[in-house]
């Protein structure tokens, strides 16, 4: 795999949330969760844009499903994380942990 993973901060958060709600994640849910977990307010269209980008990069996969009355009978696009996506977030976590461990060692306090 490529040695570089380009993930923006927002992208990473949303990717993690998709992993959390695997196969249940969709636009509205993710914006709400983002607000709850990270206290960030983003517009619905921004969330869609991020999801599209993630899908293009191959980190998430999607299918249509789950119509409900509150959506006026319209289906939602449900997202789940791909193996590549999981690997990407894990790698990012590992890199951070590694740097953090070094930071802890050298920290004066």
């Amino acid at each position: 795999m490529s040695s570089r993973i380009y993930l923006g901060e927002l992208e990473e958060l949303i990717l993690l949330l998709v992993a959390l709600y695997d196969n249940e994640a969709y636009g509205v849910l993710l914006t709400e969760e983002l607000q709850k977990q990270a206290g960030r307010v983003i517009s619905i269209s921004a969330a869609h844009a991020v999801l599209h980008r993630l899908e293009e990069k191959g980190f998430v996969r999607s299918h249509m499903g789950g119509a409900s009355a509150e959506r006026g009978g319209r289906r939602k696009r449900l997202f789940c994380i791909t193996a590549l996506g999981r690997k990407a977030v894990e790698e990012l976590r590992d890199i951070r942990n590694q740097i953090w461990s070094m930071l802890v060692k050298t920290a004066p306090s």
Binding site: A46, H48, E70
Partner: protein
């Protein structure tokens, strides 16, 4: 939850319009979910606001506009399928495709050529910085300040005028004067002063002031000074600036600056500068620019502010002024008139006016002319534009006709497409693509064709092109516009017709040719096309007849077998020797000396006025041209003497011959009565004879007043009448003999001979070119028209092959079948002829009225070309239908 609250529907519709179905669905779902949550939390209004805000938020996101990543078919795929299908169907109907393309290629190529010409003509002298403020001072002789039909329009102004204007009109921004010198002899002396090379420059030599280049700066034309100082090069007398080409011609070894050139064997000029060649699209086509100061040194007395100097004029001496911005021409003309009045007497300033002519009008106003000797009227440009338009139109008409005719053959295809789910929009797009492909191919081919043709047409069209068409952005853009326009014009109607087919009828193939609504339109179009063609053919026929008429009409003198040469010296003894030597040759039957030639282009004219003895004021005088001749003049040119006697060498200049027109205008009565009359022409003169009128002008004008006098000091031309018998060798041998005598006599002059009849022909060079152009255009029109007819008849013959077979089986003859096919077209062409005649009549009648002598219009001039067109069309139709008619009927009946 309040169910009756709905989000704004227009947002949904907008999203549906813009996004592929899937994307719209998920977005709308999410939006609605948020909406209902917001209704509960924040109320309906806020929810609606947020709905709109959120929905519109998608429109600024890039992913929204990316072409549906999920599963919608690609729009571009459809387009590429249109092109694939266009290619297939164009290849399938090869014959039609070729005819269509050929028609369009001819149309577009001609339009491009015409466009190039028009652009070239309109570009004359538009590049000077202040071109909108530059004016030429022109001389108009007439009763008042405005130019009327009767006023005489000339360009020359008297020598003292520019100086007076400059010093007495302070508001005049700039003025520059120049004198054009036609037919200058330019010699190149070597260091010791001996002449090494001799040249005669018919055109391009001018005397200009240094300010010439400040007014005419030739901006962005590539013009520049190669060497020499632009400010000082032309200030001193006897300095000259050469263009690059001329510098190379005179001094091939490259050493030019500071060298000397001898002009007219009389004065030497030092080369002080070299400039880049001037662009071809200027009416100042100068190549040798002698300083105007030289003219002042040579003819100092002509420039002084003496009254008499304000009378003399030379049309090659012209002045150009730059007006300050905002100053009107009328105002300046008034000031000029004031200056003129201050220097001259009443009789002059009341009849002669100096007016201003815009620089941008010079190239288009034949009344005043220009240094190129060639103007083009705005009318001509307009008619060229029309012709280009019509050429394109006939190409389109061909396409429409063939495509609608073809549509019956394609009805099954169209029907099937409709059954398979094509909607009319798809079909129109499909058929328009086909048209576009044809037009595009035609456009590209036409560009290449125009490029190939233009170099050959340059002399005919009078253009000098310096660059290629396909690198010219203007031409490329016009071509693009033409392609788009032609595509829309010719593709729209057929595709509309076809897309409206009822699929059931179409599939059953029930259409016949007549059943299609297009048939009536098609007839209209054929008529329109042939009307245009007939107008042009009739026009051509009449223009050519008029040219023949010019050529055959008696001009009042004999122009055949006469060679004319300008003579350098005016010393009577030396001329006498030349005459004797020439007369000694067996092939010379006559020799005469004169100040000018009786007629022809580029000859000197001297005019003055003459009146009856009792004449008092200006209007009692007649302006007339006078020529100094010798006694053989009448004999050599076979000019008839009506009364009195010929002049002899013993006559003083007080004895004159006048022509019939002058006798009439002076009211001298019959030729016999005029003999012996005393007239006032400066001093008193006596009429000794009256000659018959001869045309000193072209037939475009009428006869001028004319008088002949004896004056050996003014001889400038020798005319030699040749009489070649069988054993005396060819014309060229005779010319060579004369050249030998000439060079022995005048070793430092150039033997510059001319056949007199060719000079006369040059009168009509412009008309001759029009005639050729007309012939070319009508040929193109006929070609396109016949191509269209051929396509139509091919189609009809194919459709009716069974009908023909059955008719033949039942006993129809070849003639019957031919009639069957040709009848309709004969009717259409006759109808178009009827329409064409009045338009053509109007057009040629106004053209002919330009000439004071022209052919009388009669029916035959219209009927003959009409029949010609009909015959050509019949041949096209007949050839194709004869083939069908002679086919074995079994063959067409056997196959179903």
């Amino acid at each position: 939850m309040k169910e009756n609250h709905t989000p704004p529907a227009w947002v949904d519709r907008l999203l549906e319009e813009l996004a592929p179905a899937d994307l719209a669905e998920e977005i709308k779902g999410d939006l609605r979910e948020l909406f209902f949550k917001a209704v509960n939390d924040k109320g309906v209004r806020a929810a609606k606001r947020r709905y709109v805000f959120n929905g519109l938020g998608f429109l600024v996101k890039r992913f929204f506009w990316k072409n549906d990543p999920y599963n919608n078919p690609n729009q571009f795929m459809m387009l590429s399928s249109y092109f694939t299908m266009a290619r297939r169907s164009l290849l399938f109907y090869k014959g039609n495709t070729i005819i269509n393309t050929l028609g369009l290629v001819t149309g577009i190529a001609s339009a491009l050529v015409i466009l190039t010409v028009i652009r070239y003509e309109l570009s004359f002298d538009t590049f000077h910085s202040n071109s909108d403020r530059i004016y030429r001072v022109v001389r108009v002789t007439g009763t008042d300040l405005t130019i009327s039909e009767r006023s005489e329009c000339r360009t020359g102004i008297s020598y003292p005028v520019p100086d007076a204007l400059k010093s007495e009109i302070p508001s005049l921004e700039k003025i520059t004067s120049m004198e054009y010198v036609g037919g200058a002899q330019v010699d190149v002396p070597d260091g010791s002063g001996a002449i090494v090379r001799k040249f005669r420059e018919e055109r391009g030599c001018a005397m200009v002031e240094p300010s010439f280049f400040t007014i005419f700066d030739f901006k962005n034309t590539g013009f520049k000074w190669i060497s020499g100082n632009p400010e000082k090069a032309l200030t001193e007398p006897f300095t000259v600036v050469l263009t690059r080409t001329l510098a190379k011609k005179y001094f091939p070894d490259g050493n030019v600056l500071g060298m000397t050139l001898r002009f007219e064997k009389s004065f030497d000029c030092k080369v002080t500068g070299i400039i880049e060649d001037l662009p071809p699209n200027t009416d100042f086509p100068f190549t040798i620019l002698v300083s105007y100061a030289s003219l002042r040194s040579l003819a100092d007395d002509r420039f002084t502010q003496k009254r008499k100097n304000w009378y003399g004029v030379n049309d090659e001496h012209q002045s150009y002024v730059v007006l300050a911005p905002g100053l009107s021409t009328q105002e300046m003309e008034k000031q000029i008139a004031k200056v003129h009045a201050a220097h001259t007497e009443k009789e002059l300033y009341e009849s002669r006016h100096y007016l201003l002519q815009k620089l941008s009008d010079i190239h288009f106003d034949a009344r005043f002319g220009d240094f190129n000797g060639r103007t083009i009227s705005r009318q001509t440009i307009l008619s060229l534009e029309f012709i280009a338009l019509f050429l394109l139109l006939t190409g389109c008409i061909n396409y429409i006709n063939l495509a609608t005719a073809q549509s019956t053959m394609r009805s099954k295809e169209i029907g099937l497409r409709k059954v398979m789910g094509s909607n009319p929009r798809n079909l129109v797009a499909q058929l328009m693509t086909e048209t576009f492909v044809v037009v595009l191919i035609a456009g590209v081919v036409a560009l290449g064709l125009a490029e190939l043709l233009l170099p050959h047409l340059q002399s005919l069209l009078n253009v000098t092109l310096t660059h290629y068409l396909f690198t010219d952005p203007f031409i490329l853009l016009s071509l693009l516009a033409i392609i788009v326009l032609v595509t829309l014009l010719s593709g729209f109607y057929p595709s509309l017709i076809m897309s409206r087919f009822n699929p059931v009828t179409a599939l059953k193939n029930k259409f016949t040719t007549e059943a299609i609504a297009g048939i009536s339109l098609r007839k209209v179009l054929v008529v329109a096309q042939f009307t245009i063609t007939q107008i042009l053919v009739v026009g051509t026929f009449i223009v050519v007849s008029q040219m023949k008429f010019f050529d055959s009409m008696d001009m009042g003198f004999n122009k055949n077998a006469i060679i004319t040469i300008p003579v350098p010296g005016r010393d009577p003894e030396s001329l006498k020797v030349l005459e004797d030597q020439l007369r000694a040759e067996a092939f010379v039957s006559g020799v005469t000396f004169s100040s000018t030639l009786p007629s022809g282009l580029n000859r000197d004219r001297s005019s003055t006025d003459i009146g009856r003895p009792e004449a008092a004021s200006m209007k009692d005088y007649q302006i007339f041209e006078y020529q100094a001749v010798d006694p053989s003049y009448l004999e050599v040119y076979q000019i008839k003497l009506l009364a009195g006697r010929n002049l002899t060498m013993q006559d003083s200049s007080g004895n004159i011959l006048i022509n019939k027109t002058l006798a009439k205008n002076l009211q001298l009565g019959s030729p016999e009565q005029a003999i012996g009359m005393q007239l006032k022409m400066g001093e008193k003169v006596t009429v000794v004879g009256v000659i018959d009128d001869f045309y000193s002008n072209s037939f475009k004008e009428s006869v001028d007043n004319m008088a002949l006098v004896i004056n050996a000091k003014r001889y400038r031309n020798v005319s030699i009448k040749l009489n070649l018998q069988g054993d005396q060798g060819s014309l060229m041998d005779a010319v060579r003999r004369i050249e030998k005598i000439w060079t022995a006599r005048y070793p430092d002059s150039i033997f510059d001979y001319q056949f007199f009849d060719e000079n006369i022909k040059a009168f009509y060079a412009q008309e001759q070119k029009y005639a050729q152009l007309f012939q070319l255009f009508s040929l193109v029109f006929l070609l396109i028209g016949c191509l269209g007819l051929y396509g139509l008849i091919t189609f009809v013959v194919n459709r009716k092959s069974k009908e023909v077979a059955i008719r033949k089986v039942l006993g129809a003859t070849l003639a019957n079948v031919l009639m069957l096919f040709s009848k309709e077209y004969v009717q259409l062409i006759i109808l178009s002829f009827v329409l064409a005649v009045p338009i053509a009549y109007y057009a040629v009648d106004s053209w002919l009225s330009n000439f004071s002598h022209h052919i009388e219009l009669n029916g035959w001039l219209f009927v003959v070309p009409g029949i010609l067109v009909l015959l050509i069309a019949l041949i096209v139709v007949g050839a194709k239908s004869a083939k069908a008619a002679s086919r074995n009927p079994v063959e067409s009946l056997r196959t179903e």
